[in-house]
Symmetry: C2
Subunit: 481 residues, 2 copies
C-alpha cells in the first residue's frame, strides 16, 4: 500500500523541519510529571496569569460589558461596574459593526487602529498612520504573516539573533527560508556586535543566500537586554546599507527593570536619523497585549505597524489577512485599552495605576532576585534581566556531566533541565532551544513565579544545581580551570 | 537602486497569486460608496451580527463572567446574572490554567476538547477522542493549517468544488499547491456527480498533478445544498479508492432550512461503512461558532477533528499549532457552550431555546423569501437554499451586457454586481470569485438581512435587475432563445 497523504512520510517536509522548544521535550516531560501528581512550576512560557498574576480590573470590566451589551440597559449595572467602564464599553461597541460577534475589517477595527496610531505618536514623537497598522491575533500571527510575505524559497535568508525566541526559527522553517544567525555577546550584556553581524551576512552570501530581513527582539527574549541607542542606530544603518527589512519584535517594551537603559523603539531612532534612511529603511514592528504588565496572553491581541512599505505591498498583506477574515474583536478591544488606559481624573485611574505599578514593581524585584539567585549557584553566571520576562543563566557543565548526557542520548542542557524538573518541578527551556555558541550551555526561565514563592524556588534550584555540580565535577573539571 | 525586500516585485509570488473575492473589488467599491454616505447592505460575508442579529444571551453572560471573574465574589452579581450562567462561568474557569488571560495548551483546553468529543459522539453515534480534536481561532485557521501540512509543492493537487468558498483557492495559492476543480451540478440542485469528479482527477493526473486531498463544503457555500447520504457514501468510497484525505467543511451543520435532507456528517457515514474504509480513510472535519444560529464570527472559535491520522502526524500538527501558542480562550469557551448548551430544567433553558429557535425559524423564512424573490426576476434562476447562509442565483446576462462589461474592462458578473451596489446599496460577491462554468454567471448574497427589510431589499433588487435586463436585452438576446 502506498502511504496515505497524511501519513508522516507524506507530509510537507517544512512542517517536519519545524522545531519549537518552548513547548518541546521539556514541556512534555513536565506535563507527564504533573499527571503523575508532581507539582510543576511552569516557567517555560511567558504566561503570567498561569502563575497567578491577576488581570487588571478596568480592562476586564470594559470587555465583560462589551460581551454582555444587554447589561448596558440594566438598571442594576451601576452596582457592579464603574461608570467609566460603562462609558468605555459603549465607546468600543460604537467602533464595531455589530459588537464582538461581528467580523471586523481584516486589518482590525479602524477606530482602534487610530488609537494605536495615537499611542505610537505619543511614544515616538512622530505621527503614525492607522492605515499602516494591522491588528492581529497576538504578535506571533503578525510575525508569521510577514515572514510568509518575505520568504520566496530556501535561498532567502533572515538574520535572527542567537539566542533567539524560537517563533523565528520555527516560522522560517515552515515557510521554507534560511535562518542566518548572528550572535549576541553574552560578555557585553547580550549586546549586538555590528562586526559579527557583518560577518554573518558575508558568510551567508558566500553560500548564495539572499539575505532579505533582520529580526531584533528588544527587550531581548530570552536574553533580557535593552538595546542601546547606539546599537539601534548602527543596526538601522546596517539595514539601509545591506537592503534589509527590519522586523522589530518590541513586545516587551513595557517590561523594563532598570532606569539606565529605557526602551526606545526602532521607529523612533529611524525617523530621527532623517533622510535618506528615514524614508528608505523598511521596518515592521510588533506589539501585543500578552506581555507588559497586562499579560493577557489568552486574549490574543496584537498589532504590527509598517514603515516605508509601498501601498501595493500593504494591499497584498491586507488581502492575505482577509483569508482568515478578522482577528478576534475582544482581543482588539484589549489592545485599544492597552494603548489608551484610564487617564488622571477617571474613576478607575487610581485603581488601575496601583494595580499596574504593583505588577511592574514586583517584576523588577523578581528580576533581581532571580539574577542574584542564579549567580549564587556553583558554575552558573547570569546577566541581569534589564527587560522582558526571562532569565537566561549560563550553566557551566563539567565534562563528566556532558559525558553522562551523551550516554543518555541527550543534548547536555536538555539532560540538565530534565534532571532539574524531575528533582524540583521547575520546568525551564534548555538553551539549545534558543541557539547558543558551541560548547556553551544555558537555560531559560521566566521571572514570573509569584514573588513570595521566589525565595523557595531559587533555594530549590540552588540545592539541585550545587548537588548536580558536586556529582559531576572533579578537580580536572572545566569550571575549576 | 535594487528593489527593496518588501517592494511589490520582491514579494513571495504565492502571496501575490492569492485571490480573495469575498473582500475583493466589490467589497472595496461598497466601502467607498459607504464613505460617500450611501447606505450599504453588506451581504458579501456571512456576518450575521453585522446585519442586526442579536447574540444569544446565555453564552454572552457566561463569557462576560469569565472575563470579569472578580464579579463571582460580588454580592450583587445575582442581580444581573442568572445562577446557571454563574455556575457555568465557574465551570469554564476551572478548566483554564489562569482564566482567560493565560495561554491554553496549543490544542485548546482539554476540558473543552472533551465537551466537543461528547457532542460529536451524541451527533454521530460513535465515540470521539479529545486528543484528535484541536481548537482553533475560527475554522479558517484550521483549514489553512491542514492545507499547509498537506501541500509540498505545486504538483500537489487539492480537489475543490466549483463553485467554492475562496478560502480554499486562496490558501492553496498561498501554500503553493494546485487547485483541482470539480464541478457541482446546478441542474441537480448543486449535487456532486461522481463521474465528473473522476474526470477531474484523471485530467489532473495527466498533467502530472499528484491529487492528495478533496474538499467538500456541506451544507454548501456558496451553493446552499445539503449532500445526500448517497453522495457522501460515493465520495468517501472515491477518497478510499483514490487515496485522498477528505477535508469536510461542515461549519453550516446547524443551518438547515428544510426537513427532507438533514445534515449528516462525513464522519458518521464513514464510520458506518465499516472496515476497511472506516479504518483507512483520512478525514478532517471543521466546525465553528461563527455560523449556526450563534453567528459569533468576531469571537474566532472553531475546531477540527481528525479521523484515521497516525499519531506522528498529529504530533506534527500539534507542534506547528504551538508556534502561535494558543487560540483565544474566550473563543474556546464559546465553542464549549455551543456544544453543550443549556439543558431542560436549567434556569436559562427556555430563554436560550426561544432565542435559538427564533433565529433559525427566521433564517428558514428568509431563505425562502430570497429564493422566491430571485426566481421572480427576469433572467434569474436560483436553487433553494437547503442549508448554510447563502443564495447563489444564476444571472443570465444578455450578450449586450457581456459586451458592455468587456468595454468597461470588467468580468461580466463583476460589471453586473458593481451596477447593483451602485444602484441599490446591495453588496454581493460576483460568481467569478467562487468559480463557475464558462459563460455562466452568478452572484452570491447572504440570506442575513433582517427579515423585516427583506421584502424591500428583494423589491429593490428586482427593480434594478429587470431594468438592467431591459436595457441590455434585445430580441436576439441569449435569455429569450
Amino acid at each position: 500500500m502506498p502511504p496515505k497523504p497524511l501519513d508522516h512520510e507524506s507530509l510537507n517536509e517544512n512542517v517536519k523541519k519545524v522545531a519549537y522548544a518552548v513547548r518541546g521535550e521539556l514541556y512534555l516531560r513536565a506535563s507527564e510529571l504533573q499527571k503523575e501528581g508532581k507539582k510543576i512550576i511552569f516557567t517555560n512560557v511567558g504566561n503570567p496569569h498561569a502563575l497567578g498574576q491577576k488581570p487588571l480590573t478596568f480592562p476586564r470590566q470594559v470587555v465583560a460589558l462589551c460581551q454582555a451589551p444587554f447589561l448596558l440597559d440594566d438598571p442594576n449595572v451601576g452596582l457592579v461596574f464603574p461608570a467609566d467602564a460603562i462609558a468605555r464599553a459603549k465607546h468600543y461597541l460604537s467602533l464595531t459593526s455589530g459588537g464582538l460577534g461581528a467580523y471586523s475589517d481584516s486589518r482590525g477595527l479602524p477606530g482602534i487602529r487610530k488609537e494605536v496610531a495615537d499611542f505610537i505618536e505619543r511614544r515616538d514623537g512622530y505621527p503614525s498612520n492607522p492605515d499602516l497598522i494591522f491588528l492581529t491575533g497576538g504578535a506571533s500571527t503578525g510575525v508569521m504573516q510577514m515572514l510568509n510575505t518575505i520568504i520566496r524559497n530556501e535561498m532567502d535568508g533572515i538574520l535572527v539573533p542567537v539566542p533567539q525566541y524560537p517563533l523565528y526559527s520555527a516560522a522560517i522553517s515552515l515557510y521554507g527560508g534560511s535562518l542566518v544567525p548572528y550572535y549576541l555577546e553574552e560578555e557585553a550584556n547580550w549586546g549586538l556586535d555590528i562586526n559579527s553581524l557583518r560577518q554573518s551576512v558575508a558568510h551567508a552570501r558566500l553560500k548564495g543566500i539572499n539575505v532579505r530581513a533582520m529580526v531584533i527582539i528588544n527587550p531581548g527574549n530570552p536574553t533580557g537586554q535593552c538595546l542601546s541607542k547606539t546599537n539601534l542606530r548602527e543596526l538601522l544603518k546596517f539595514c539601509f546599507e545591506e537592503n534589509l527589512v527590519l522586523l522589530a519584535d518590541e513586545v516587551y517594551q513595557q517590561n523594563i527593570y532598570q532606569d539606565e537603559r529605557p526602551f526606545i523603539s526602532a521607529r523612533k531612532i529611524l525617523l530621527g536619523m532623517g533622510p535618506p534612511m528615514s524614508k528608505e529603511v523598511q521596518l515592521v514592528s510588533f506589539h501585543t497585549v500578552s506581555k507588559g504588565y497586562w499579560g493577557e496572553c489568552g486574549q490574543r491581541g496584537g498589532y504590527f505597524e509598517m514603515t516605508n512599505l509601498p501601498p501595493e505591498t500593504v494591499d497584498e498583506i491586507y488581502k492575505v489577512a482577509s483569508i482568515s477574515l478578522s482577528p478576534n474583536v475582544a482581543g482588539q478591544i484589549f489592545l485599544g485599552l492597552m494603548v489608551s488606559p484610564p487617564k488622571p481624573g477617571d474613576i478607575s485611574y487610581l485603581k488601575f495605576t496601583a494595580e499596574s505599578k504593583g505588577i511592574l514593581d514586583s517584576l523588577r524585584r523578581r528580576a533581581r532576585m532571580m539574577t542574584d539567585g542564579f549567580n549564587s549557584c556553583r558554575n552558573v553566571v547570569c546577566n541581569f534581566t534589564e527587560g522582558a520576562m526571562y532569565s537566561f543563566p549560563q550553566i557551566r557543565l563539567p565534562p563528566k556531566a556532558i559525558e553522562a548526557a551523551k550516554k543518555a542520548g541527550k543534548v547536555p542542557d536538555v539532560f540538565y533541565c530534565i534532571k532539574l524538573v524531575e528533582a524540583t518541578g521547575i520546568s525551564t527551556v534548555p538553551g539549545s532551544g534558543f541557539g547558543q555558541k558551541e560548547g556553551v550551555f544555558h537555560l531559560r526561565t521566566t521571572i514570573l513565579p509569584a514573588e513570595e514563592e521566589m525565595p523557595a524556588i531559587m533555594a530549590s534550584f540552588k540545592k539541585f544545581n550545587d548537588e548536580f555540580m558536586e556529582q559531576y565535577e572533579d578537580y580536572r573539571g572545566y569550571s575549576r580551570m
